[in-house]
Protein backbone atom coordinates (compact mmCIF):
# COMPACT_ATOMS: atom_id res chain seq x y z
CA UNK A 1 0.00 0.00 0.00
CA UNK A 2 1.92 3.01 -1.31
CA UNK A 3 -0.77 5.54 -0.43
CA UNK A 4 0.08 6.02 3.25
CA UNK A 5 3.75 7.02 2.92
CA UNK A 6 2.88 9.36 0.02
CA UNK A 7 0.13 11.01 2.08
CA UNK A 8 2.48 11.37 5.03
CA UNK A 9 5.16 12.97 2.87
CA UNK A 10 2.58 15.37 1.48
CA UNK A 11 1.66 16.51 4.97
CA UNK A 12 5.29 17.29 5.84
CA UNK A 13 6.61 17.46 9.39
CA UNK A 14 3.85 18.27 11.83
CA UNK A 15 5.78 17.79 15.07
CA UNK A 16 6.41 20.82 17.21
CA UNK A 17 9.96 21.90 18.05
CA UNK A 18 8.82 22.59 21.61
CA UNK A 19 10.53 22.75 24.13
CA UNK A 20 13.45 23.92 21.93
CA UNK A 21 11.09 26.21 20.02
CA UNK A 22 7.96 28.08 21.05
CA UNK A 23 4.58 26.36 21.44
CA UNK A 24 2.49 26.93 18.28
CA UNK A 25 -0.90 27.03 20.01
CA UNK A 26 -2.59 26.86 23.39
CA UNK A 27 -6.15 26.24 24.54
CA UNK A 28 -6.82 29.77 25.87
CA UNK A 29 -9.03 29.09 28.87
CA UNK A 30 -6.96 26.08 29.98
CA UNK A 31 -4.23 28.58 30.90
CA UNK A 32 -4.44 30.58 34.11
CA UNK A 33 -6.54 33.73 33.75
CA UNK A 34 -5.02 37.13 34.55
CA UNK A 35 -6.61 40.51 35.26
CA UNK A 36 -7.89 42.55 32.32
CA UNK A 37 -9.58 45.30 34.36
CA UNK A 38 -10.32 46.28 37.94
CA UNK A 39 -13.87 44.97 38.14
CA UNK A 40 -14.67 42.38 40.79
CA UNK A 41 -14.33 38.94 39.14
CA UNK A 42 -16.95 36.22 39.50
CA UNK A 43 -15.74 32.65 39.85
CA UNK A 44 -18.05 29.67 40.48
CA UNK A 45 -15.35 27.75 42.40
CA UNK A 46 -13.76 30.66 44.28
CA UNK A 47 -10.47 30.20 42.48
CA UNK A 48 -9.64 33.91 42.48
CA UNK A 49 -8.10 35.51 45.54
CA UNK A 50 -6.88 39.12 45.40
CA UNK A 51 -6.83 38.92 41.62
CA UNK A 52 -4.63 35.80 41.61
CA UNK A 53 -6.00 32.51 40.29
CA UNK A 54 -5.37 29.23 42.08
CA UNK A 55 -4.07 26.65 39.63
CA UNK A 56 -5.51 23.92 41.83
CA UNK A 57 -9.05 25.29 41.78
CA UNK A 58 -9.47 26.85 38.35
CA UNK A 59 -11.81 24.80 36.14
CA UNK A 60 -11.04 26.69 32.91
CA UNK A 61 -14.65 27.78 32.53
CA UNK A 62 -14.12 31.41 31.54
CA UNK A 63 -16.95 32.69 33.73
CA UNK A 64 -14.59 35.42 34.97
CA UNK A 65 -14.20 36.81 31.45
CA UNK A 66 -15.67 40.23 32.31
CA UNK A 67 -12.66 40.92 34.54
CA UNK A 68 -10.06 38.35 33.51
CA UNK A 69 -8.54 36.96 30.34
CA UNK A 70 -6.49 33.84 29.56
CA UNK A 71 -2.77 34.37 30.23
CA UNK A 72 -1.81 32.01 27.38
CA UNK A 73 1.20 31.03 29.50
CA UNK A 74 2.58 27.54 30.00
CA UNK A 75 3.11 27.82 33.75
CA UNK A 76 -0.08 26.13 34.91
CA UNK A 77 1.87 23.61 37.02
CA UNK A 78 4.04 23.43 40.12
CA UNK A 79 6.78 20.99 40.98
CA UNK A 80 7.72 19.98 44.49
CA UNK A 81 10.73 17.92 43.59
CA UNK A 82 14.15 19.45 43.18
CA UNK A 83 16.27 16.42 42.32
CA UNK A 84 16.46 15.88 38.54
CA UNK A 85 15.70 12.44 37.18
CA UNK A 86 18.83 11.25 35.50
CA UNK A 87 17.10 8.81 33.20
CA UNK A 88 16.97 9.26 29.47
CA UNK A 89 13.45 7.91 29.27
CA UNK A 90 10.43 8.79 31.34
CA UNK A 91 7.67 6.21 31.53
CA UNK A 92 4.21 7.22 32.65
CA UNK A 93 1.33 5.12 33.91
CA UNK A 94 -1.98 7.03 33.91
CA UNK A 95 -4.64 6.31 36.53
CA UNK A 96 -8.18 7.56 36.15
CA UNK A 97 -9.75 7.97 39.57
CA UNK A 98 -12.95 9.67 38.42
CA UNK A 99 -12.60 11.81 35.34
CA UNK A 100 -14.96 13.18 32.73
CA UNK A 101 -12.71 11.58 30.10
CA UNK A 102 -11.11 14.78 28.83
CA UNK A 103 -8.06 14.64 31.13
CA UNK A 104 -7.43 11.10 29.88
CA UNK A 105 -7.58 11.97 26.19
CA UNK A 106 -5.57 15.17 26.71
CA UNK A 107 -2.78 13.28 28.44
CA UNK A 108 -2.71 10.74 25.59
CA UNK A 109 -2.67 13.64 23.09
CA UNK A 110 1.02 14.23 23.80
CA UNK A 111 1.61 11.00 21.88
CA UNK A 112 0.02 12.30 18.67
CA UNK A 113 2.26 13.44 15.79
CA UNK A 114 1.91 17.13 16.66
CA UNK A 115 3.63 16.62 20.03
CA UNK A 116 5.32 13.23 19.63
CA UNK A 117 6.39 12.92 23.26
CA UNK A 118 8.50 9.86 22.39
CA UNK A 119 11.11 12.17 20.76
CA UNK A 120 11.69 13.49 24.30
CA UNK A 121 11.87 9.98 25.72
CA UNK A 122 8.38 10.15 27.26
CA UNK A 123 6.34 6.95 26.95
CA UNK A 124 3.14 5.46 28.34
CA UNK A 125 3.41 2.02 29.92
CA UNK A 126 0.83 -0.63 30.67
CA UNK A 127 1.62 -1.28 34.31
CA UNK A 128 2.82 0.84 37.23
CA UNK A 129 5.69 -1.62 37.80
CA UNK A 130 7.42 -0.36 34.65
CA UNK A 131 6.63 3.30 35.31
CA UNK A 132 8.80 6.20 36.49
CA UNK A 133 5.71 8.32 37.08
CA UNK A 134 2.06 7.94 37.93
CA UNK A 135 -0.30 10.53 36.47
CA UNK A 136 -3.42 10.45 38.60
CA UNK A 137 -6.48 12.28 37.36
CA UNK A 138 -10.12 12.75 38.30
CA UNK A 139 -11.94 13.18 41.60
CA UNK A 140 -11.64 10.97 44.64
CA UNK A 141 -13.64 7.75 44.49
CA UNK A 142 -13.79 5.26 47.33
CA UNK A 143 -13.33 2.24 45.07
CA UNK A 144 -10.21 3.75 43.52
CA UNK A 145 -8.40 4.49 46.78
CA UNK A 146 -6.89 1.02 47.09
CA UNK A 147 -6.10 0.87 43.35
CA UNK A 148 -4.10 4.11 43.58
CA UNK A 149 -2.31 3.07 46.79
CA UNK A 150 -1.39 -0.28 45.28
CA UNK A 151 -0.01 1.38 42.14
CA UNK A 152 2.17 3.72 44.25
CA UNK A 153 3.38 0.73 46.29
CA UNK A 154 4.52 -1.41 43.35
CA UNK A 155 6.48 1.33 41.60
CA UNK A 156 10.25 1.31 41.64
CA UNK A 157 11.62 4.21 43.71
CA UNK A 158 12.19 7.08 43.26
CA UNK A 159 8.83 7.45 41.59
CA UNK A 160 7.26 10.69 40.47
CA UNK A 161 3.66 11.23 41.55
CA UNK A 162 1.71 13.60 39.35
CA UNK A 163 -1.72 14.98 40.15
CA UNK A 164 -3.27 15.97 36.88
CA UNK A 165 -6.16 18.39 36.28
CA UNK A 166 -8.42 20.46 38.52
CA UNK A 167 -10.50 17.47 39.67
CA UNK A 168 -7.47 15.66 41.10
CA UNK A 169 -6.07 18.85 42.62
CA UNK A 170 -9.13 20.28 44.33
CA UNK A 171 -12.16 18.31 43.19
CA UNK A 172 -12.93 21.09 40.70
CA UNK A 173 -16.67 21.61 40.58
CA UNK A 174 -17.39 17.87 40.70
CA UNK A 175 -16.24 16.40 44.00
CA UNK A 176 -13.27 15.88 46.28
CA UNK A 177 -9.64 16.07 45.16
CA UNK A 178 -6.77 13.66 45.83
CA UNK A 179 -4.31 15.91 47.67
CA UNK A 180 -4.91 14.16 51.00
CA UNK A 181 -4.47 10.71 49.44
CA UNK A 182 -1.04 11.13 47.84
CA UNK A 183 1.89 13.47 48.16
CA UNK A 184 2.58 14.81 44.66
CA UNK A 185 5.95 15.72 43.13
CA UNK A 186 4.18 17.61 40.39
CA UNK A 187 0.76 19.17 40.00
CA UNK A 188 -0.64 20.19 36.64
CA UNK A 189 -3.64 22.52 36.54
CA UNK A 190 -6.31 23.04 33.93
CA UNK A 191 -9.62 21.48 33.10
CA UNK A 192 -8.19 19.69 31.24
CA UNK A 193 -4.50 20.71 31.04
CA UNK A 194 -3.33 21.75 27.57
CA UNK A 195 -0.86 19.31 25.91
CA UNK A 196 1.86 21.99 25.74
CA UNK A 197 1.48 22.66 29.46
CA UNK A 198 1.71 18.90 30.08
CA UNK A 199 4.93 18.59 28.05
CA UNK A 200 6.41 21.65 29.74
CA UNK A 201 5.59 20.33 33.22
CA UNK A 202 6.94 16.84 32.48
CA UNK A 203 10.21 18.23 31.15
CA UNK A 204 10.61 20.46 34.20
CA UNK A 205 10.00 17.67 36.71
CA UNK A 206 12.66 15.61 34.93
CA UNK A 207 15.00 18.51 35.54
CA UNK A 208 15.36 19.36 31.86
Amino acid sequence: MKLWPINSLRKGILTTKFPMGKNETISPWSTLPVRRNDSEPYCPVNAINMGKVSLEKCISCGRCMESMEPSLRLDNFEKFREKPLLKRSFKIFPIDSGTCGACNTELFSIGNPYYDATRLGIFFVNTPKQADALAIMGVYGEEMESVIKKAVEVMAQPAVIILFGACALSGGIIGRGLRDLVDPDLIIGGCPPDPFVILNALEKVRGR
Binding site: M65, D96, G98, G101, N126, G141, M144
Partner: protein, 398 residues
Protein backbone atom coordinates in the same frame (compact mmCIF):
# COMPACT_ATOMS: atom_id res chain seq x y z
CA UNK B 1 -35.86 -2.16 11.24
CA UNK B 2 -37.93 -0.55 13.93
CA UNK B 3 -37.13 -0.11 17.59
CA UNK B 4 -40.07 1.93 18.80
CA UNK B 5 -41.22 -0.55 21.42
CA UNK B 6 -37.89 -0.47 23.21
CA UNK B 7 -37.80 0.95 26.71
CA UNK B 8 -34.54 2.86 26.73
CA UNK B 9 -34.84 4.29 30.22
CA UNK B 10 -37.05 4.45 33.28
CA UNK B 11 -37.36 6.49 36.43
CA UNK B 12 -39.43 6.85 39.58
CA UNK B 13 -41.50 9.93 40.25
CA UNK B 14 -43.36 9.88 43.55
CA UNK B 15 -44.50 6.29 43.98
CA UNK B 16 -44.88 5.55 40.29
CA UNK B 17 -42.56 4.33 37.57
CA UNK B 18 -42.32 5.88 34.14
CA UNK B 19 -40.48 4.81 31.06
CA UNK B 20 -38.94 6.32 27.96
CA UNK B 21 -39.60 4.65 24.65
CA UNK B 22 -37.72 5.25 21.42
CA UNK B 23 -39.58 7.41 18.92
CA UNK B 24 -41.52 9.18 21.65
CA UNK B 25 -40.78 12.56 23.18
CA UNK B 26 -43.04 11.98 26.19
CA UNK B 27 -42.60 9.65 29.13
CA UNK B 28 -45.37 7.26 30.04
CA UNK B 29 -46.43 5.26 33.11
CA UNK B 30 -44.96 1.79 33.18
CA UNK B 31 -45.73 -1.19 35.40
CA UNK B 32 -42.82 -2.19 37.60
CA UNK B 33 -43.04 -5.78 36.29
CA UNK B 34 -42.20 -4.60 32.78
CA UNK B 35 -39.16 -2.72 34.09
CA UNK B 36 -38.01 -5.70 36.15
CA UNK B 37 -38.04 -7.82 33.01
CA UNK B 38 -35.58 -5.59 31.20
CA UNK B 39 -32.32 -7.48 31.01
CA UNK B 40 -30.00 -4.79 29.68
CA UNK B 41 -29.52 -2.60 32.73
CA UNK B 42 -27.88 -5.26 34.93
CA UNK B 43 -24.36 -3.84 35.06
CA UNK B 44 -25.72 -0.51 36.29
CA UNK B 45 -27.55 -2.28 39.05
CA UNK B 46 -24.33 -4.12 40.00
CA UNK B 47 -25.83 -7.42 38.96
CA UNK B 48 -23.30 -9.38 36.99
CA UNK B 49 -24.95 -12.17 35.13
CA UNK B 50 -22.48 -13.10 32.46
CA UNK B 51 -20.45 -15.65 34.40
CA UNK B 52 -19.74 -18.88 32.54
CA UNK B 53 -18.84 -22.29 33.90
CA UNK B 54 -17.52 -25.48 32.33
CA UNK B 55 -14.49 -27.68 32.12
CA UNK B 56 -11.24 -25.64 32.10
CA UNK B 57 -13.16 -22.35 32.21
CA UNK B 58 -11.40 -19.77 34.34
CA UNK B 59 -11.91 -16.11 35.14
CA UNK B 60 -9.39 -13.64 33.86
CA UNK B 61 -9.26 -10.08 35.14
CA UNK B 62 -8.59 -7.16 32.82
CA UNK B 63 -8.63 -3.87 34.68
CA UNK B 64 -9.67 -1.79 36.52
CA UNK B 65 -6.64 0.34 35.74
CA UNK B 66 -4.73 -0.95 32.80
CA UNK B 67 -2.81 0.30 29.81
CA UNK B 68 -4.69 0.09 26.55
CA UNK B 69 -7.93 1.46 28.01
CA UNK B 70 -8.68 5.18 28.10
CA UNK B 71 -10.78 5.04 31.27
CA UNK B 72 -10.94 2.95 34.42
CA UNK B 73 -13.13 -0.09 33.89
CA UNK B 74 -12.92 -3.67 35.05
CA UNK B 75 -13.57 -6.69 32.85
CA UNK B 76 -14.11 -10.14 34.32
CA UNK B 77 -13.53 -12.42 31.38
CA UNK B 78 -14.59 -16.06 31.39
CA UNK B 79 -12.45 -18.11 29.06
CA UNK B 80 -10.63 -21.40 28.60
CA UNK B 81 -7.83 -19.87 26.59
CA UNK B 82 -7.80 -17.01 24.19
CA UNK B 83 -11.47 -16.93 23.17
CA UNK B 84 -13.92 -15.02 25.37
CA UNK B 85 -16.86 -17.14 26.50
CA UNK B 86 -18.50 -14.41 28.47
CA UNK B 87 -17.62 -11.12 30.15
CA UNK B 88 -18.92 -9.03 33.01
CA UNK B 89 -18.09 -5.34 32.88
CA UNK B 90 -17.78 -3.55 36.20
CA UNK B 91 -18.02 0.20 35.77
CA UNK B 92 -18.30 1.14 39.44
CA UNK B 93 -14.60 1.77 40.16
CA UNK B 94 -14.93 5.29 38.84
CA UNK B 95 -18.54 5.91 39.61
CA UNK B 96 -18.89 9.65 40.21
CA UNK B 97 -21.81 11.19 42.04
CA UNK B 98 -22.58 14.59 40.61
CA UNK B 99 -24.88 16.90 42.49
CA UNK B 100 -27.17 18.74 40.09
CA UNK B 101 -30.37 19.25 42.06
CA UNK B 102 -30.89 22.37 44.16
CA UNK B 103 -27.71 23.85 42.68
CA UNK B 104 -27.44 27.22 41.01
CA UNK B 105 -28.48 26.50 37.41
CA UNK B 106 -25.26 27.83 35.96
CA UNK B 107 -23.24 25.53 38.24
CA UNK B 108 -25.46 22.61 37.21
CA UNK B 109 -24.51 23.45 33.62
CA UNK B 110 -20.78 23.47 34.42
CA UNK B 111 -21.16 20.05 36.00
CA UNK B 112 -23.23 18.71 33.12
CA UNK B 113 -20.55 19.60 30.57
CA UNK B 114 -18.10 17.65 32.74
CA UNK B 115 -20.28 14.53 32.80
CA UNK B 116 -18.55 13.44 29.63
CA UNK B 117 -15.84 15.88 28.64
CA UNK B 118 -15.36 14.20 25.28
CA UNK B 119 -18.96 14.94 24.34
CA UNK B 120 -19.35 17.97 26.57
CA UNK B 121 -21.11 20.22 24.10
CA UNK B 122 -23.89 17.69 23.43
CA UNK B 123 -24.58 17.40 27.15
CA UNK B 124 -24.40 21.12 27.85
CA UNK B 125 -26.80 21.72 24.95
CA UNK B 126 -29.15 19.06 26.32
CA UNK B 127 -29.34 20.83 29.67
CA UNK B 128 -29.57 24.35 28.20
CA UNK B 129 -32.26 23.49 25.68
CA UNK B 130 -34.30 21.55 28.27
CA UNK B 131 -34.19 24.37 30.80
CA UNK B 132 -35.00 26.92 28.13
CA UNK B 133 -38.04 24.88 27.12
CA UNK B 134 -39.21 24.34 30.69
CA UNK B 135 -38.79 28.01 31.59
CA UNK B 136 -40.17 29.33 28.29
CA UNK B 137 -36.93 31.07 27.31
CA UNK B 138 -36.60 31.79 23.60
CA UNK B 139 -33.14 31.93 22.04
CA UNK B 140 -32.04 33.74 18.89
CA UNK B 141 -32.03 31.27 16.00
CA UNK B 142 -28.36 32.13 15.56
CA UNK B 143 -27.70 30.41 18.91
CA UNK B 144 -29.59 27.28 17.81
CA UNK B 145 -27.53 27.16 14.62
CA UNK B 146 -24.23 27.69 16.44
CA UNK B 147 -25.09 24.94 18.91
CA UNK B 148 -25.77 22.59 15.98
CA UNK B 149 -22.43 23.55 14.43
CA UNK B 150 -20.54 22.73 17.61
CA UNK B 151 -22.45 19.49 18.27
CA UNK B 152 -21.73 18.27 14.74
CA UNK B 153 -18.07 19.27 15.03
CA UNK B 154 -17.90 17.32 18.28
CA UNK B 155 -19.43 14.29 16.52
CA UNK B 156 -16.84 14.45 13.74
CA UNK B 157 -13.96 14.73 16.23
CA UNK B 158 -15.35 11.79 18.22
CA UNK B 159 -15.80 9.60 15.13
CA UNK B 160 -12.27 10.39 13.94
CA UNK B 161 -10.87 9.35 17.33
CA UNK B 162 -12.77 6.04 17.25
CA UNK B 163 -11.57 5.36 13.70
CA UNK B 164 -7.98 6.04 14.81
CA UNK B 165 -8.33 3.46 17.58
CA UNK B 166 -9.69 0.90 15.11
CA UNK B 167 -6.68 1.53 12.85
CA UNK B 168 -4.28 1.10 15.76
CA UNK B 169 -5.80 -2.30 16.54
CA UNK B 170 -5.48 -3.35 12.91
CA UNK B 171 -1.78 -2.34 12.88
CA UNK B 172 -2.54 0.50 10.49
CA UNK B 173 -0.19 2.77 12.38
CA UNK B 174 0.30 5.38 9.68
CA UNK B 175 -3.47 5.77 9.23
CA UNK B 176 -3.94 5.87 12.98
CA UNK B 177 -1.33 8.64 13.38
CA UNK B 178 -2.80 10.57 10.47
CA UNK B 179 -6.24 10.42 12.09
CA UNK B 180 -4.90 11.44 15.50
CA UNK B 181 -3.10 14.33 13.81
CA UNK B 182 -6.32 15.31 12.07
CA UNK B 183 -8.19 15.24 15.37
CA UNK B 184 -5.46 17.39 16.95
CA UNK B 185 -5.67 19.87 14.09
CA UNK B 186 -9.43 20.17 14.66
CA UNK B 187 -9.02 20.53 18.43
CA UNK B 188 -6.52 23.35 17.93
CA UNK B 189 -8.90 25.16 15.60
CA UNK B 190 -11.80 24.63 18.00
CA UNK B 191 -9.66 26.14 20.79
CA UNK B 192 -8.77 29.09 18.61
CA UNK B 193 -12.37 29.69 17.54
CA UNK B 194 -14.18 28.99 20.83
CA UNK B 195 -11.51 29.43 23.52
CA UNK B 196 -11.40 25.80 24.68
CA UNK B 197 -10.34 22.52 23.04
CA UNK B 198 -13.29 20.62 24.54
CA UNK B 199 -15.81 23.48 24.13
CA UNK B 200 -16.12 23.94 27.91
CA UNK B 201 -17.65 27.18 29.09
CA UNK B 202 -19.34 28.19 25.83
CA UNK B 203 -22.94 27.23 26.43
CA UNK B 204 -25.18 29.40 28.52
CA UNK B 205 -28.81 29.00 29.52
CA UNK B 206 -30.50 31.30 27.02
CA UNK B 207 -27.47 31.77 24.75
CA UNK B 208 -23.71 31.41 24.51
CA UNK B 209 -21.05 32.83 26.81
CA UNK B 210 -18.52 33.07 24.01
CA UNK B 211 -19.67 33.88 20.51
CA UNK B 212 -17.72 32.76 17.44
CA UNK B 213 -17.52 33.18 13.70
CA UNK B 214 -19.32 30.21 12.03
CA UNK B 215 -17.63 30.54 8.64
CA UNK B 216 -14.19 29.81 10.15
CA UNK B 217 -15.54 26.71 11.86
CA UNK B 218 -17.24 25.43 8.71
CA UNK B 219 -14.14 26.06 6.61
CA UNK B 220 -12.02 24.13 9.10
CA UNK B 221 -14.50 21.22 9.20
CA UNK B 222 -14.69 21.12 5.40
CA UNK B 223 -10.94 20.75 5.13
CA UNK B 224 -10.91 18.12 7.86
CA UNK B 225 -13.65 16.09 6.17
CA UNK B 226 -11.75 16.24 2.89
CA UNK B 227 -8.62 14.96 4.63
CA UNK B 228 -10.62 12.29 6.45
CA UNK B 229 -12.12 11.05 3.17
CA UNK B 230 -8.64 10.43 1.74
CA UNK B 231 -7.69 8.35 4.78
CA UNK B 232 -11.03 6.52 4.70
CA UNK B 233 -10.55 5.62 1.02
CA UNK B 234 -7.14 4.18 1.83
CA UNK B 235 -8.65 2.10 4.63
CA UNK B 236 -11.43 0.75 2.41
CA UNK B 237 -8.84 -0.84 0.12
CA UNK B 238 -6.64 -2.15 2.90
CA UNK B 239 -7.23 -5.90 3.20
CA UNK B 240 -5.39 -6.03 6.55
CA UNK B 241 -7.66 -3.37 8.05
CA UNK B 242 -10.89 -4.83 6.72
CA UNK B 243 -9.95 -8.40 7.73
CA UNK B 244 -9.07 -7.31 11.26
CA UNK B 245 -12.30 -5.44 12.00
CA UNK B 246 -14.78 -7.45 9.93
CA UNK B 247 -16.87 -9.79 12.09
CA UNK B 248 -15.30 -8.39 15.27
CA UNK B 249 -17.73 -7.81 18.11
CA UNK B 250 -20.85 -8.45 16.10
CA UNK B 251 -24.06 -7.42 17.81
CA UNK B 252 -27.56 -6.53 16.72
CA UNK B 253 -29.85 -5.58 19.57
CA UNK B 254 -32.48 -2.85 19.44
CA UNK B 255 -31.47 -1.47 22.83
CA UNK B 256 -27.97 -0.51 21.65
CA UNK B 257 -27.53 3.17 20.82
CA UNK B 258 -26.15 5.50 18.21
CA UNK B 259 -23.69 4.26 15.57
CA UNK B 260 -23.68 0.80 17.22
CA UNK B 261 -27.42 0.51 16.66
CA UNK B 262 -27.35 2.03 13.19
CA UNK B 263 -24.51 -0.32 12.19
CA UNK B 264 -26.96 -3.17 12.68
CA UNK B 265 -29.66 -1.72 10.49
CA UNK B 266 -31.79 0.22 12.98
CA UNK B 267 -32.64 3.56 11.40
CA UNK B 268 -32.98 5.47 14.66
CA UNK B 269 -31.33 8.85 15.22
CA UNK B 270 -32.74 11.23 17.83
CA UNK B 271 -31.88 14.21 15.61
CA UNK B 272 -34.95 13.24 13.54
CA UNK B 273 -37.12 14.06 16.59
CA UNK B 274 -35.10 16.94 17.97
CA UNK B 275 -36.81 20.32 17.38
CA UNK B 276 -33.33 21.80 16.82
CA UNK B 277 -33.01 19.75 13.63
CA UNK B 278 -36.67 20.00 12.55
CA UNK B 279 -36.03 21.79 9.22
CA UNK B 280 -32.80 20.03 8.45
CA UNK B 281 -33.30 17.24 6.03
CA UNK B 282 -30.68 14.47 6.27
CA UNK B 283 -30.57 10.71 5.78
CA UNK B 284 -29.90 8.39 8.67
CA UNK B 285 -26.73 6.39 7.95
CA UNK B 286 -27.25 2.66 8.44
CA UNK B 287 -25.29 -0.49 7.72
CA UNK B 288 -26.17 -4.14 8.18
CA UNK B 289 -22.92 -5.83 9.17
CA UNK B 290 -23.37 -5.25 12.94
CA UNK B 291 -19.59 -5.57 13.42
CA UNK B 292 -16.67 -3.18 13.92
CA UNK B 293 -16.42 -2.73 10.14
CA UNK B 294 -20.07 -1.65 9.97
CA UNK B 295 -19.53 0.77 12.85
CA UNK B 296 -16.53 2.23 11.00
CA UNK B 297 -18.73 2.63 7.91
CA UNK B 298 -21.36 4.43 9.97
CA UNK B 299 -18.71 6.78 11.43
CA UNK B 300 -17.49 7.54 7.91
CA UNK B 301 -21.03 8.17 6.62
CA UNK B 302 -21.96 10.33 9.59
CA UNK B 303 -18.87 12.51 9.28
CA UNK B 304 -20.05 13.45 5.79
CA UNK B 305 -23.65 13.94 6.96
CA UNK B 306 -22.55 16.17 9.84
CA UNK B 307 -20.82 18.55 7.45
CA UNK B 308 -23.95 18.63 5.24
CA UNK B 309 -26.10 19.40 8.30
CA UNK B 310 -23.76 22.23 9.30
CA UNK B 311 -23.92 23.81 5.85
CA UNK B 312 -27.69 23.46 5.72
CA UNK B 313 -28.11 24.90 9.21
CA UNK B 314 -26.27 28.06 8.19
CA UNK B 315 -28.30 28.41 4.98
CA UNK B 316 -31.63 27.92 6.75
CA UNK B 317 -31.08 30.25 9.70
CA UNK B 318 -34.29 32.05 10.68
CA UNK B 319 -34.72 35.67 11.67
CA UNK B 320 -37.15 34.78 14.48
CA UNK B 321 -36.30 33.48 17.90
CA UNK B 322 -36.31 29.73 18.39
CA UNK B 323 -38.89 28.61 20.91
CA UNK B 324 -40.52 25.23 20.32
CA UNK B 325 -43.84 24.43 21.97
CA UNK B 326 -43.33 22.47 25.19
CA UNK B 327 -44.93 19.02 25.28
CA UNK B 328 -46.82 17.43 28.09
CA UNK B 329 -44.66 14.96 30.07
CA UNK B 330 -41.71 15.84 27.91
CA UNK B 331 -38.55 13.75 27.93
CA UNK B 332 -35.72 15.82 26.57
CA UNK B 333 -33.04 14.39 24.37
CA UNK B 334 -29.93 14.88 22.31
CA UNK B 335 -28.11 12.65 19.83
CA UNK B 336 -24.58 12.60 21.29
CA UNK B 337 -21.81 11.13 19.13
CA UNK B 338 -22.39 7.79 20.92
CA UNK B 339 -26.18 7.81 20.61
CA UNK B 340 -29.22 9.40 22.17
CA UNK B 341 -29.21 10.67 25.75
CA UNK B 342 -32.66 11.19 27.26
CA UNK B 343 -33.45 13.30 30.27
CA UNK B 344 -36.32 13.97 32.63
CA UNK B 345 -36.25 17.22 34.61
CA UNK B 346 -38.41 18.79 37.29
CA UNK B 347 -38.00 22.33 38.59
CA UNK B 348 -38.77 23.96 41.91
CA UNK B 349 -37.93 27.55 42.90
CA UNK B 350 -35.88 28.05 39.75
CA UNK B 351 -33.65 25.09 40.56
CA UNK B 352 -33.66 21.50 39.35
CA UNK B 353 -35.47 19.41 41.94
CA UNK B 354 -35.45 16.06 40.16
CA UNK B 355 -33.29 14.75 37.32
CA UNK B 356 -32.96 11.46 35.49
CA UNK B 357 -30.52 11.01 32.66
CA UNK B 358 -30.11 7.91 30.54
CA UNK B 359 -26.89 8.11 28.56
CA UNK B 360 -26.02 5.93 25.54
CA UNK B 361 -23.19 4.19 27.41
CA UNK B 362 -25.72 2.82 29.89
CA UNK B 363 -27.12 0.65 27.11
CA UNK B 364 -24.06 0.15 24.93
CA UNK B 365 -22.22 -1.40 27.87
CA UNK B 366 -24.53 -4.42 27.80
CA UNK B 367 -24.53 -4.50 23.98
CA UNK B 368 -20.74 -4.72 24.08
CA UNK B 369 -20.75 -7.45 26.75
CA UNK B 370 -22.96 -9.56 24.50
CA UNK B 371 -21.10 -8.75 21.28
CA UNK B 372 -17.60 -9.53 22.52
CA UNK B 373 -18.41 -13.17 23.36
CA UNK B 374 -16.58 -15.47 20.95
CA UNK B 375 -13.92 -12.85 20.19
CA UNK B 376 -10.36 -12.83 21.53
CA UNK B 377 -9.07 -10.79 24.45
CA UNK B 378 -6.94 -8.49 22.30
CA UNK B 379 -10.15 -7.35 20.57
CA UNK B 380 -11.45 -5.77 23.77
CA UNK B 381 -9.90 -2.26 23.74
CA UNK B 382 -10.71 -1.27 20.17
CA UNK B 383 -14.04 -3.09 19.91
CA UNK B 384 -15.08 -1.43 23.17
CA UNK B 385 -14.21 2.01 21.87
CA UNK B 386 -16.05 1.43 18.61
CA UNK B 387 -19.21 1.33 20.81
CA UNK B 388 -18.44 4.86 21.99
CA UNK B 389 -18.71 3.83 25.63
CA UNK B 390 -17.66 6.39 28.23
CA UNK B 391 -17.71 5.21 31.86
CA UNK B 392 -17.76 8.86 32.90
CA UNK B 393 -21.34 9.17 31.66
CA UNK B 394 -22.46 6.32 33.90
CA UNK B 395 -21.98 8.64 36.86
CA UNK B 396 -24.97 9.27 39.03
CA UNK B 397 -26.71 12.63 38.88
CA UNK B 398 -28.07 13.57 42.28
Amino acid sequence: MNSNQIISGFFKKGQDYFCIRDNSRSFEPCPIEEIKNLDYFHALEKEYKHNATGENVFRFNYGPSTGGMVETVDFKIYTYGERILSVDILPEFKRREIKITHEKLDNALLKMERLNGFHSFSYSTLLCSSLERLEGIGIPDDVRVKRILLMETERIISHIFKTARLCEAASQNIASYQLLALREKMMRSVAEITGHRYMFGINKIGGLYRDFEPSRLIQMVKEAVREYSQIRDGLYVSRIFIDRIENTCKISVPFSRGPTMRASGYAYDYRKMDPYYADLDFSIVTENGSDSLARFQVFAGEIKTSLEIMERAIEQKNADDFMPEPLENEIFGVETPSGDARMFLEMEDNKISNIYLRTPSMLNLEAFARGICGNVKTDIPFAYESFGIWISELGELL
